[in-house]
């Protein structure tokens, strides 16, 4: 599904290398987790994959189902089935949540040559998904993320994911700032989407989330590289001992 090879990225504005040769392959049906110290480059990796401006790829490749991602606009990547749940979802005053979601869904459908969803069908779809995430109708009426609590913003990300049904989902610290119940909701949302045609890359600091979304592979990122990969037990080790031992053993 997602193949990243020797990816080197620096900031466009200054000569600062952030990703220094990332190799990662996520197969369809799999869930991979990425853990790693603050500032190690996890969000940068997710932004570069989603197509945010401000970064320069100096070497390496990233493909989604064989298609080169790095030359595409963000909307083209989305239409191919890539989705990023933001670490910090953006507030957009004046744009209603529903308008936003409908525009996004229909734009993706159009790009894929599918028919647009009519308003009634769309409403039904969103209501259904929102209900399972305990997002009430009031919240849907409000402008995108404006006045949402931290947890509401994260649930709204998962709602978007549920509606857009992407094939490659990247979740950047979607569990941060969630209370125990909300985390359970988010995990249920993710698990409901799990399937043979879909893959997940879950960035997190906490093993707790991985109790609910059990990963196939756990990667440790440090200083712009994947320095260790293993099974779920790797996350447990981080939880108990921090990163020091792992980083020492690979140094």
């Amino acid at each position: 599904m997602l193949e990243i090879s020797n990816l080197h990225v620096k900031l466009e504005e200054e000569d600062k290398a952030i990703l220094k040769g990332v190799d990662l392959a996520v197969k369809a049906g799999e869930v991979h987790a990425i853990m790693g110290p603050n500032g190690s480059g996890k969000s940068t990796l997710s932004y570069v994959l989603a197509g945010r401006e401000g970064y320069e790829v100096t070497d390496g490749t990233a493909t989604l189902e064989g298609r080169d991602l790095l030359g595409l606009e963000p909307e083209e990547r989305a239409a191919l089935g890539l989705f990023l749940a933001f670490q910090y979802p953006v507030e957009i005053p004046g744009v209603g949540n529903m308008t936003f979601l409908r525009t996004a869904l229909n734009a993706q459908r159009k790009a894929r040559g599918q028919e647009e969803l009519n308003p009634a069908a769309f409403l039904k779809l969103v209501r259904e998904k929102a209900k399972s995430l305990h997002i009430d109708a009031e919240m849907l009426k409000r402008p995108v993320n404006v006045g949402f609590s931290g947890g509401e913003k994260k649930r709204n990300e998962i709602l978007q994911m549920a509606v857009l049904e992407p094939r490659m989902c990247i979740l950047d610290e979607t569990d941060s700032g969630l209370d125990v119940d909300a985390m359970k909701l988010v995990a249920d949302g993710v698990n409901a989407l799990r399937g043979p045609d879909r893959a997940f890359l879950v960035i997190t600091h906490y093993q707790r989330l991985l109790d609910h979304i059990v990963p196939d592979v756990v990667h440790i990122m440090a200083d712009g590289r994947i320095v260790a990969s293993g099974g779920p037990e790797l996350a447990l080790e981080v939880e108990m001992n921090g990163y020091a031992d792992i980083l020492k053993s690979v140094a």
């Binding site: 957009i92 936003f100 996004a104 734009a107």
Partner: protein, 429 residues
């Protein structure tokens, strides 16, 4: 300080360009003469004037007016509900044949010339009175010209709840036509009127409306200015608000080479409310100026100014907004926001927000910003699959929405949004 000869000469040119109205009552002639004298003494506006430093008035004062091409695809009517009293002005001249009968329950409505030829107390108390008050502390020479010379327009007196809006529809037929239009509106205590204005008025349009809103009355004003590209317009709305009265005025401007919209509002009764708002979009040769002066001279009045401008292709936006709180005007609540969204680096926004406060128990705030489309928001939208162009349009409409939200009627608000969306869409090609 002596008034420069340039200004004095300019005033003479302006006054000579229009015939002195004939056949009017003595009182009207006296008002005209006073206004002409005021203009002659204070002079025409020039770029050097502090009040015109952001907007060059030359093309508003030079004779003759420059012609402005008529819009090729003609203007789709706006604000055009079925249930309204429509009055059409063709090239600035009342066109009775195309207008509804000037009759409505609770409303007296007549051509301006008719009331100026007779002795009607309310018109006599209003005509030129608010304009004259509005000349202090800043000169408004184009409004003085209007008082001295305008013969077209309506005089509207509202005694109850007007059952339907009055819609002034401006149409153009000649590329060179210039228009001078004056409306008088008086709302008696407890009365209620919605006044709509739409359409391209003239190559050069000088419009003044004086509105007296008595205690407990409400005046709603929604206007869309013509979207013909080359036209120029200088408009002024003078309003005086009595106790617990309400004024809401919203203007949408799409295109036009030069627009100066002035609002001069004075609170004379306690606990009155005035909201003045505007949204404009312009691309290329577009200069749009909102100049607002709000005087609080009563207790516990609320004023609110919300102006949003979207500019592209070296377009210029101007905002000059002042809140003056006179001594004793305690519990004043004054708010002012002016914002420009610059869609490229060649456009500019010039803003001069001012507060002048002589009372201690007031809440006044103002803010002015200009900037580009928020890149973080753009990335968020595009990362969800929305093409960059549509994402930008969504953000532009969202930016303008705070001003449009000032329009109370949701149907009208949606119509304004549609026109803005259409403007954005036309710019895509």
């Amino acid at each position: 300080m002596a008034v420069p000869a340039l200004k004095i000469d300019g005033a003479e040119v302006l006054l000579d360009a229009w015939p002195e109205p004939a056949g009017e009552a003595g009182w009207a002639r006296a008002v005209r003469a006073r206004a002409a004298r005021r203009l002659a003494e204070r002079g025409a506006p020039v770029r050097r004037d502090e009040y015109w430093k952001f907007t060059d008035p030359t093309s508003l004062t030079a004779e003759p007016a420059l012609p402005a091409a008529l819009l090729a695809d003609d203007e789709k009517p706006m604000l055009d509900g079925a249930d309204q009293l429509r009055v059409v002005f063709l090239d600035g001249v009342l066109a009775p044949g195309e207008s509804d009968a000037l009759a409505m329950e609770g409303v007296e409505i007549r051509p301006l010339a008719e009331v100026l030829a007779t002795d009607i107390t309310w018109a006599r108390e209003l005509f030129g009175a608010l304009e004259e008050r509005g000349q202090v502390p800043v000169d408004r020479p184009l409004a003085a010209l209007n008082t001295a010379r305008a013969t077209e327009g309506l005089a509207i007196r509202v005694t109850g709840r007007a059952p339907r809006p009055v819609h002034l529809v401006y149409r153009r037929s000649r590329p060179e036509a210039e228009a001078l239009v004056r409306h008088l509106v008086r709302l008696e205590a407890g009365a209620d009127l919605t006044l709509l204005e739409s359409g391209p008025a003239a190559a050069r349009f000088n419009s003044v409306t004086e509105v007296e809103v008595a205690a407990g009355a409400a005046f709603h004003h929604v206007r869309t200015q013509g979207r013909d590209h080359e036209r120029r317009a200088a408009t002024a709305l003078f309003a005086r608000l009595g106790e617990k009265s309400l004024l809401k005025s919203f203007t949408l401007t799409v295109n036009g080479r030069l627009t100066r919209n002035e609002h001069v509002v004075e609170f004379t009764g306690d606990e009155a409310v005035a909201h003045v708002a505007g949204a404009c979009v312009g691309d290329g040769e577009f200069h749009h100026d909102d100049t607002v002066f709000i005087t609080h001279d009563a207790l516990a009045c609320e004023s609110r100014q919300v102006f949003k401008k979207v500019l592209r292709g070296a377009a210029t936006g101007v905002f000059q907004g002042k809140i003056l709180v006179k001594p004793g005007a305690q519990k004043t609540d004054g708010y002012q926001i002016s914002q420009a969204l610059l869609l490229d680096e060649t456009s500019q926004f010039l803003a001069k927000p001012e507060l002048e406060i002589y009372a201690d128990d007031v809440v006044c705030s103002h803010g002015s910003t200009s900037g580009a489309v928020d890149e973080d928001a753009l990335f968020y939208l595009t990362s969800r699959g929305i093409p960059r162009r549509s994402a930008e349009e969504l953000l532009v409409l969202a930016f303008l929405d705070q001003a449009i939200a000032e329009v109370e009627d949701p149907g009208l608000g949606d119509e304004l949004r549609e026109r803005l969306a259409a403007w954005l869409e036309r710019r895509r090609q």
